[in-house]
């Protein structure tokens, strides 16, 4: 009895995960899809999404990798505090992150005057899109990368050092290759989160076609004008996510199969 109830609950959860996607696909004819994708907003929005998420993930990997290494193997009581700070964007609603970014970097924000005097305007620009994505996706990359680095036994680094490695070359020759499947996975999850980012972007960057209108924002605009456009854009985004997920599975499987 308990077992069948649990099975039913699991099945219901799977249904909630899969059925909306099925509805998205089933309810759209190829011609409707073609028509939706022919919308002039599609190519600029997709291009902007791909461009900004690429930059965001590169920035995250560059800054997040050393931070994750320190969180995994560093010493000191600040580690926990920093780990908590990194996780904050998960519990803070994206809309709040958007407002907070405005309060920091907007014209009347904390750093507004300083940025203004330097001639730098961030809100409602493509840079704002990238910044919003970096903030919301950061915990996903840093958490994943930290877990990946924890799998690197500290002894292996010591052994590498005794065999002639400097700290940097031990990181490059031992820690990074061992952690690589986890790092790639973390980067993919962060990319997916950045690709789907909506709330913080809308508030901090706005919804300007060609400048700040990423795919999720274009879907909302489409929904207001023509539902078919929104559906077609959604399908394109689902396809991008599926390709990403499959690519990640394939890449990490390849990296681990020889171990």
């Amino acid at each position: 009895m308990t077992r069948s109830l649990a099975g039913l609950a699991a099945l219901a959860l799977l249904g909630v995960l899969v059925l909306p996607l099925v509805a998205l696909v089933v309810g759209t004819s190829p011609s409707q899809l073609q028509q939706g994708l022919a919308s002039p907003a599609f190519v600029p929005a997709l291009a902007l999404s791909l461009r900004t998420t690429f930059v965001s993930v590169v920035l995250l990997v560059l800054a997040g990798t050393p931070l994750a290494w320190w969180l995994a193997h560093g010493r000191g009581r600040w580690r926990r505090v920093v780990a908590g700070v990194v996780d904050l964007p998960i519990v803070v609603p994206p809309a709040v992150t958007g407002v907070a970014l405005l309060r920091l970097l907007g014209r009347r924000g904390l750093l507004g005057d300083a940025l203004d005097s330097l001639g730098i305007v961030i809100p409602f620009s493509t840079s704002a899109v990238v910044l919003a994505q970096v903030v919301v996706a950061a915990p996903f990359f840093v958490q994943g990368a930290t877990t990946a680095f924890r799998r690197v036994e500290p002894d292996l680094i010591v052994v590498a050092r005794t065999l002639g490695c400097t700290p940097m070359s031990a990181l490059r020759r031992v820690a990074l290759p061992i952690a690589m499947p986890g790092l790639v996975g973390a980067a993919c999850v962060a990319w997916a989160r950045a690709l789907g980012e909506f709330g913080a972007t809308l508030l901090f960057a706005g919804n300007l076609p060609g400048v700040t209108q990423t795919m999720p924002l274009a879907i909302v605009r489409g929904l207001e004008a023509d539902v078919q456009v929104a559906v077609a854009f959604s399908l394109a985004l689902v396809a991008a996510g599926a390709v990403l997920l499959l690519g990640m599975r394939w890449a990490t499987a390849r990296m681990t199969e020889h171990r």
Binding site: E153, D155, L156, V158, V159, A160, R161, T162, L163, G164, C165, T166, R173, V174, P177, I178, M180, H258, R259
Partner: protein
């Protein structure tokens, strides 16, 4: 035979380490109860553990003045510390030239396993590869942390014989952590006994048998 001496003073966590060891070469077995600081001693000699005072002289070289990567102290941690992303040959060649690695693979009977992933090695094979990698460095001092624990009885005997044979053939100074007096006898090693961060006795098994300094030494030599 290269004479060596080690002096270490410092704290590791809540434990004080105050160790002085010297030998004329050959193998020294470092024994002691769990938590007495044996692994810390090895890590401090390697240079991976900061001490307030560390002096490591091997064959007239002051190794403590060098960074870890230039000490030529080879370290085999528990379990071997093999790099899981590299095959056997690449592990052995990690800190050595390819020709030297090939010689060691040959000497330790590892040629057949050269292209095997280390995740698919048995416990005994892992220790063999770890020893080959350590010797490929042509170390001034070799440190082995419990190479014989976590092996079943058969593997333990064969690894012990392998170690005895190759350490004798190599002839350099080595410190080996163990829990069994049988290992010490098989390796013709002297013994240093570490208790609560201090060396309480050092000498041959016979000397320790004749006058055990502590109840632990007594229990150890009687096996």
């Amino acid at each position: 035979m290269s004479a060596w001496s080690v002096e270490l003073r410092g704290t590791v966590g809540s434990r004080t380490l105050d160790v002085s060891l010297r030998a004329d070469g050959g193998v020294l077995a470092l024994v002691g109860p769990n938590g007495s600081g044996k692994t810390s001693v090895l890590r401090a000699i390697v240079g991976a553990l900061a001490m307030t005072h560390a002096r490591i002289d091997v064959a007239g070289m002051a190794l403590h003045e060098r960074p870890i990567e230039a000490r030529k102290v080879a370290y085999v941690p528990q379990g071997g510390g093999l790099f899981p992303h590299l095959d056997v040959r690449r592990n052995v060649a990690f800190g050595a030239e390819a020709s030297r690695a090939d010689t060691l693979l040959e000497q330790l009977g590892l040629r057949e396993l050269a292209s095997r992933a280390v995740g698919r090695l048995s416990g005994g094979e892992r220790q063999r590869v770890a020893l080959a990698r350590a010797l490929a460095l042509d170390p001034a001092l070799l440190l082995l942390d419990e190479p014989l624990s976590a092996l079943d009885a058969t593997a333990r005997r064969s690894v012990r014989t392998m170690l005895a044979e190759h350490l004798r053939a190599w002839g350099g100074p080595a410190i080996l952590v163990t829990h069994a007096v049988a290992d010490v006898r098989a390796l013709h090693a002297d013994v240093a006994v570490l208790e609560a961060g201090r060396i309480v006795q050092q000498g041959s098994v016979e000397a320790l048998c004749a006058a055990p300094a502590t109840p632990f030494v007594d229990a150890f030599v009687t096996g």
